[in-house]
């Protein structure tokens, strides 16, 4: 399974980014081979409109099954992710990525 994070940086101890559409980095953790892949989203964040749905598209293309974030996407992006059957967990906005993953495994994050 692949788990995605919205983050401020690209390493395990990076802070999470509570935003969805204008997150700094999209991080994808592949449980199978333990790899951590990051996509710099800071340029995408420069778009004035439609950022949420664009980021949702990137997330779907990354193959992630689960998204861990701070507050959750806005209504339009949420609809896109719902169709793609990506599960969303929120409340990890002020954690580091490794803490967010642990909180997810421990069932401490709320479902969006």
């Amino acid at each position: 399974m692949k788990i995605a994070f919205t983050a401020k940086g690209s390493s395990w101890d990076s802070k999470m980014d509570p935003r969805f559409g204008r997150m700094d980095f999209l991080i994808v953790f592949d449980e199978e081979n333990k790899s951590l892949i990051s996509k710099d989203n800071r340029e995408g964040a420069e778009e004035a409109h439609g950022v949420g749905t664009q980021t949702a598209k990137d997330l779907i293309e990354s193959g992630a099954n689960v998204l861990i974030t701070g507050n959750g996407p806005g209504a339009n992006a949420a609809k896109v992710l719902e169709h793609a059957k990506i599960e969303i967990f929120v409340g990890a906005g002020s954690m580091n990525i490794d803490e967010a993953l642990k909180a997810y495994y421990d069932g401490k994050l709320e479902s969006f």
């Binding site: 509570p18 935003r19 969805f20 559409g21 204008r22 964040a45 420069e46 778009e47 004035a48 409109h49 950022v51 949420g52 701070g70 507050n71 959750g72 806005g74 209504a75 929120v90 409340g91 906005g93 709320e110 969006f112």
Partner: protein
């Protein structure tokens, strides 16, 4: 560092007057961010010095390069916004009407249409009268607020707060329920809803709270002008209870709001008749709520 976002859903409830008062009371402990950029007015109360100004670019609009244009009119035919009139026999893009959808360059047979990024305004980092910092923006004529600009103002305020060791960021949130509000709410520790006892006050409160609830952010509510319609105030109270929203304060209708504003003061500076104390108590409650959570 904690982030408090103040929103109202409906205009004219006193959101900015109350936010500015909190900014004044928070003094050097807070960085103020004005994300109500469509009609930014907090600067009138906080007297920023506009020390650091940066251009803000957002969105693209089309421009026709006349040398390459063959006057075929295909662009005008597809434009849903009627933004391409013919003036003196030439097709021209009317910048105020262009929405930047990008359809016209796709149909132009001679590639005469270019999309250009627009400078839509400026954003500022200012020192304000409390000696603290305010991040704010000013849009040009016809420009609209966006989630992007809100994100910029907020992120800058948070960065400054972290660097200078401030305890809080106070955000004057954007109106409505669209993209700028979503952007205002992202990352907030507490949302303060300011409403008034009117049908539209309650309606818009409910509408914007749906968004807050979806984002699972703790919320409190201030009912301003609460004595104007006691029945409606009760109705709002029932709603707050139902939704588990903290009832922070009932403020009376008071013309001090307007009088303070006209001389560029916050209410807590201007008023001495109890309204100042009510707002101060509300501010103290807000601080209790956000700092209690950490333990």
């Amino acid at each position: 560092m904690k982030e408090i976002v103040i929103i109202s859903g409906k205009g004219g409830t006193g959101k900015t007057s109350i936010t500015a008062s909190f900014g004044y009371l928070g003094a050097k402990e807070v960085v103020v961010a004005d994300c109500d950029v469509d009609a930014a007015d907090m600067h009138l109360l906080m007297q920023p010095d506009f020390a650091e100004a940066k251009d803000f670019f957002s969105g693209e609009i089309a421009r026709i390069e006349q040398d390459a244009c063959i006057q075929c009119g295909k662009c005008a035919d597809v434009c849903r916004f009627d933004a391409i009139p013919v003036i003196d026999g030439k097709y021209i893009i009317e910048p105020l009407d262009c929405e930047g959808c990008g359809y016209c360059p796709r149909v132009c047979p001679t590639d005469a249409i270019v999309m250009e990024e627009q400078k839509v305004g400026k954003w500022y980092v200012s020192e304000i009268k409390t000696g603290s910092i305010m991040v704010h923006a000013r849009l040009g004529i016809g420009a609209e607020n966006s989630g992007k600009l809100v994100a910029k103002v907020k992120n800058e305020a948070k960065r400054i707060a972290e660097e200078t060791g401030k305890k809080m960021v106070i955000v004057d949130g954007s109106p409505g329920v669209g993209c700028p509000v979503v952007s205002s709410l992202s990352g907030a520790d507490l949302v303060v809803l300011v409403t008034e006892p009117t049908v539209s006050g309650l309606h818009d409160l409910k509408r914007v709270y749906e968004l807050v609830k979806k984002f699972k952010i703790k919320a409190g509510c201030i009912i301003n002008k609460s004595d104007l319609n006691l029945q409606m105030t009760d109705e709002i109270e029932s709603y707050l209870e139902l939704e588990n929203i903290v009832s922070l304060a009932h403020l009376p209708y008071d013309e001090s709001f307007t009088r303070a504003m006209t001389i560029g003061q916050t209410i807590v500076e201007y008023d001495n008749n109890g309204l100042n104390r009510s707002i101060e108590e509300t501010w103290n409650r807000i601080k209790q709520i956000i700092f209690k959570k950490e333990k």
